[in-house]
Subunit: 367 residues, 2 copies
């Protein structure tokens, strides 16, 4: 198991994970709003600590071998003495690690600082990249299938929106967003903060958009499946009325996306893909400087989080078969606006598969 | 401002908040999936640090006085040198704090450990209860109005479910949940992990429930308004078929809820309310031991998070006018199952207001 190897490499005794994110539920197969801890020991310890009210459910649902409640470990007495739930729980955690003869403890980089400081009083503590991030980056077959299903629903819903726009039904940015999000919900996907932006506002990549649709509509939607918890992520820029500058920008990002996809396979460095996208946009005459041009990275992993490992940008990242990543070149200029196209891609041994096969150049006029 | 007072009290120079939760968007009026920092200085510093791609939007939307991009502060050069986005950003943060002549820095208890350790190399660092948690606990009039609207939608939707059950339409736990969540979504509220549980499974308070509805149905729903971001929280236990044990338990928790509500007003200690609930349930003959009985706290604040300050439980907590809290006594026995009733309450100067006025004793038979 990757975590045990990491513990050995770092000469550490325990890895401690706190609840509150998808790494915890991925690792333990147990989800709750309660504060809980998962301890993996180099000695084989596999322990879930949680409030007694979660015990019955955890025994049924979790895959962790040993489960113990805070109450069983003296929570109530400690709370009376320390008058702070946080301190009482920290003391239980410290005691449990001492019982396991811990000297060095690993925590993920986002572990809560208060507790990290408490652990520091008793152990050597090192904050490491959470090993579950790397594990989650490579998807199992069942995870790929879940993401694939999301993509099919997403494309069907987007296509409905596109046909509605083609039929010249009056729409603005807000009604387009609302239409798309409702379509997705009917099929079990929840989309929030969907970007439907137009005009100069769209020069900000994360602007949600509002009001009238001008010459183009940028739609970026990243719904989560309410049942499975997995995301999808997809962007298209629809040309509404002829605008030569925007059309040229769109053609360039489509070329850049094509270039990136042609490179994607196991073993490739994401940084090289990002550089190829930058070069492609530059060769089309689009410069990047002073917050304009291609001002974000090329892509990111998608799974239980909408942004996860690997990152395809300015940092080395070896792509592996089974990774699911976005490729999303964009161009943004204050006086014109922004365009972006984005596909979701499954990395394979010798090539890749586009999970969002849908026309990239969409225009309501005859171009 | 409460944060400046805290800085003075702790003889600290800066409070640093990282993005990724509602405290950040509450404090800055700016929301993004990007990594960002908000610095409040005892000298009056009010600074937002973020990626350049967020700059335009932040200048339009955020209430923070000074906004600077990582790129402007040398991100790209640092990334080339350090080969880690995390380390590059840490260095920018450290430099900015040094420019502000920081000696002591406050961070919230849940601040990411990696960055906390980096700060420790240069400053005295103390992890404190996030002051925005206390600020958020007392709601402004516009926040109360948003929560009140959620409650009205929630009660209307729950009432539809109750009438459907009364009409003897065949339903199980899953179809009841799905019906309620759809009703809420049509009115702009997203509910997830809604509890519709029955039978012995309901002895676990957070069991979502599945399959056939037996003698009772416990419905606990906590939707979030997709537009405003505020939650509501509400629970009822519906008696489907006569079961004297469950009926007695329900009557006791309704009495306990009534007792708690009669006590709620500004100045009261939440711990006293919790003890009164415990006493009331005990006086009805219901014991708590070994993970059975009344095995959770009496309530919690509700706002931008479904569980927030104050906590009404075993720890002192002074209630203030403008707080919105749940009161949710429950009883759970493995051989019988669980019951719970929950109202959402607005604390006022001399009394309180029930934001979820709906009959507590619900039976499909003539009791």
């Amino acid at each position: 198991m990757a975590v045990i190897e990491l513990l050995k490499e770092k000469k550490a005794d325990f890895f401690v994970l706190q609840s509150g994110g998808v790494n915890f539920s991925y690792a333990t197969k147990f989800k709750s709003s309660s504060t809980m801890f998962y301890l993996i020991g180099v000695d084989g310890t596999d322990l879930l600590l949680l409030p007694e009210m979660e015990l019955g459910r955890a025994l049924r649902e979790s895959r962790v071998k040993e489960i113990a409640s805070f109450e069983k470990l003296g929570y109530e007495e400690k709370l009376k003495e320390l008058k702070s739930p946080r301190k009482a729980i920290a003391e239980i955690l410290v005691e449990r690690l001492k019982e396991g003869r811990a000297k060095k403890v690993l925590i993920p980089t986002d572990f809560p600082a208060f507790l990290a400081f408490e652990l520091q009083k008793h152990f050597e503590v090192e904050a490491v990249e959470n090993p579950f991030l790397k594990l989650r980056a490579v998807k199992r077959a069942d995870e790929i299938e879940k993401i694939r299903q999301n993509c099919l629903i997403l494309l069907r819903s987007f296509d409905k929106l596109y046909r509605k726009l083609r039929s010249k039904k009056p729409m603005n940015c807000d009604s387009a967003r609302s239409f798309l999000e409702k379509e997705l919900f009917f099929q079990g996907l929840i989309a929030e903060d969907t970007i439907c932006s137009s005009g100069k506002l769209s020069a900000d990549p994360h602007e949600l958009g509002k009001g009238k649709i001008e010459d183009h509509l940028l739609v970026d939607v990243f719904p989560r499946n309410l049942r499975t918890g997995y995301y999808a992520d997809f962007t298209r820029t629809i040309l509404i009325r002829k605008n030569p500058e925007i059309e040229e920008m769109l053609k360039a990002v489509i070329e850049a996306k094509k270039k990136a996809i042609s490179m994607l396979k196991e073993g490739v460095n994401g940084k090289d893909v990002h550089n190829a996208v930058k070069d492609c946009l530059k060769s089309h005459g689009f410069e990047t400087k002073a917050g304009e041009g291609f001002i974000h990275s090329t892509g990111h992993g998608v799974g239980l989080e909408v942004h996860e490992e690997p990152r395809i940008g300015d940092v080395d990242a070896e792509l592996k078969s089974g990774m699911v990543v976005t490729v999303e070149p964009g161009l943004y200029y204050r006086k014109i606006g922004g365009v972006r196209v984005e596909d979701l891609i499954l990395i394979r041994k010798n090539d890749c598969e586009v999970l969002t096969p849908y026309e990239s150049f969409l225009a309501l006029y005859n171009p």
